[in-house]
């Protein structure tokens, strides 16, 4: 069951189109998976529309020309584009992605196998920061780390724990520099997440500390 959702402020900014693109995308993916947030969003949009459409600007002579121009335009074809569901593939496994992320299933730059039974595929969104699909096999874990910025994670399939609590499919997780955590999974089917990171990770233990001087390189 989904327990963690974007807060009202985040949903409202999303509905207004005011969030950073990466943040907006992961919120959109959550609302694809979460009925509750989808309903909330519908209400927020109706309220925003009521406010935005309450005021009208003064009449403008340019409107007449605009109307005439628009009426010259043909109707859109109305032909439904057949919607082919794309799956994310990894090592013989297939994952169905939420609608918002579908288009990125084949825009990954290949999977990299990382130590700790981890697989990671970066998604090139052209945003500041980075976006990745990460798959943890059963018994997999990420070295303990904290964040310089904010990490948003959406659990797409399976469940995991980070030493702070457990997370289930659909959960929307926000982590910032206050948290030191060690994500791991014991689920048989492993766990697939999508995450957006606005600053490099800061590794805090063991050999992984070596990575800190290079986190900019990881991050490029």
């Amino acid at each position: 069951m989904i327990k963690l959702h974007p807060n009202s402020q985040q949903l409202s900014e999303f509905a207004q189109g005011q969030c950073d693109s990466g943040v907006a995308l992961i919120i959109a993916a959550h609302t694809d998976m979460c009925r509750q947030c989808k309903q909330k969003l519908t209400l927020i949009e109706a309220e925003l529309a009521r406010e935005a459409m309450a005021e009208k600007s003064s009449p403008d002579p340019a409107f007449d020309t605009m109307l005439a121009n628009i009426l010259q335009m043909p109707a859109a074809s109305g032909i439904e584009v057949s919607y082919k569901q794309k799956k994310l593939e990894l090592d013989g496994k297939e994952f169905v992605l939420p609608r918002s992320l579908q288009r990125y299933a084949d825009k990954i730059n290949g999977w990299s196998h990382l130590p700790g039974k981890l697989w990671q595929a970066r998604v090139d969104l052209g945003i500041d920061g980075r976006a990745d699909f990460t798959y943890m096999e059963k018994g997999g874990s990420v070295p303990e780390h904290t964040h310089r910025g904010t990490e948003l994670t959406l659990v797409l399939d399976g469940e995991f724990s980070d030493g702070i609590r457990n997370y289930d499919t659909g959960d929307f997780i926000e982590r910032s520099c206050d948290h030191v955590h060690t994500p791991h999974t014991e689920a048989d089917e492993g766990c697939l997440v999508f995450s957006i990171l606005d600053k490099p990770l800061h590794f805090t233990s063991g050999i992984a500390r070596l990575l800190n001087p290079f986190s900019q390189l990881f991050f490029k």
């Binding site: 990466g22 628009i70 859109a76 990671q120 500041d128 001087p213 290079f214």
Partner: protein, 204 residues
């Protein structure tokens, strides 16, 4: 004497709330089914000044605001068949179209190339497919690779890096421990990092 005086009664006694929503829904359905220009004109006269008021708050200048109004209302005319009264009111639908177009306009104005479009996130006019921007295959550096590169460093540089980045010692502590000047520790660190960086870049 009354000749030439415009009758404004229709304007001032405009219905509001649910009534206007019902009226506009009917117009939208007529536009969808019959391409009725008179119905569209009603929709246009009601919504264009409202979308413009929203656009003026959102866009940098008058011209962009008008572009947003034009794009929004053109979509209403061309895609009226996508309006579904069961899902929401006409003003919510038109607001969401304007919001999406605004988002895409601002995205295009930005210098950086973001490959996310409004319909990915807010499917209002589900016909659009984004242009397939070329995805560059950029190199992934993994923990394993860094480990390998690290083992390729000269022994003296490796010792310094290990003490500082793995054991967490300060440069002064390393200098004292190895019995070498602090300046040497600093230069070894710098050289080692530079070398690792070069190796990573050469790998690309």
């Amino acid at each position: 004497m009354l000749v030439g005086i415009q009758l404004e009664t229709r304007q001032t006694q405009r219905p509001s709330g649910p009534e206007i929503a019902n009226e506009m829904s009917t117009y939208l359905q007529t536009v969808a089914s019959e391409r009725c220009k008179a119905s569209f004109a009603e929709i246009f006269h009601y919504f264009a000044p409202r979308v413009r008021s929203y656009a003026l708050k959102q866009m940098k200048n008058e011209a962009q605001a008008m572009e947003l109004v034009q794009e929004t209302l053109a979509n209403v005319w061309q895609k009226a068949h996508l309006f579904n009264a069961e899902k929401g009111s006409p003003s919510t639908w038109i607001f969401t179209i304007a919001r999406n177009i605004r988002y895409d306009m601002l995205r295009k104005q930005q210098k950086r190339k973001e490959d996310i479009c409004s319909e990915d996130m807010w499917p209002v006019l589900c016909e659009q497919t984004a242009s397939d921007a070329e995805v560059s295959l950029d190199h992934q550096v993994t923990l394993e690779q860094v480990g390998q590169l690290f083992s390729g460093l000269p022994v003296k540089q490796k010792a310094v890096i290990e003490a500082i980045y793995v054991e967490g010692k300060s440069q002064q502590e390393v200098a004292d421990e190895l019995g070498i000047p602090l300046g040497t520790v600093k230069s070894r660190t710098r050289l080692a990092l530079q070398r690792l960086r070069e190796m990573l870049e050469k790998d690309d």
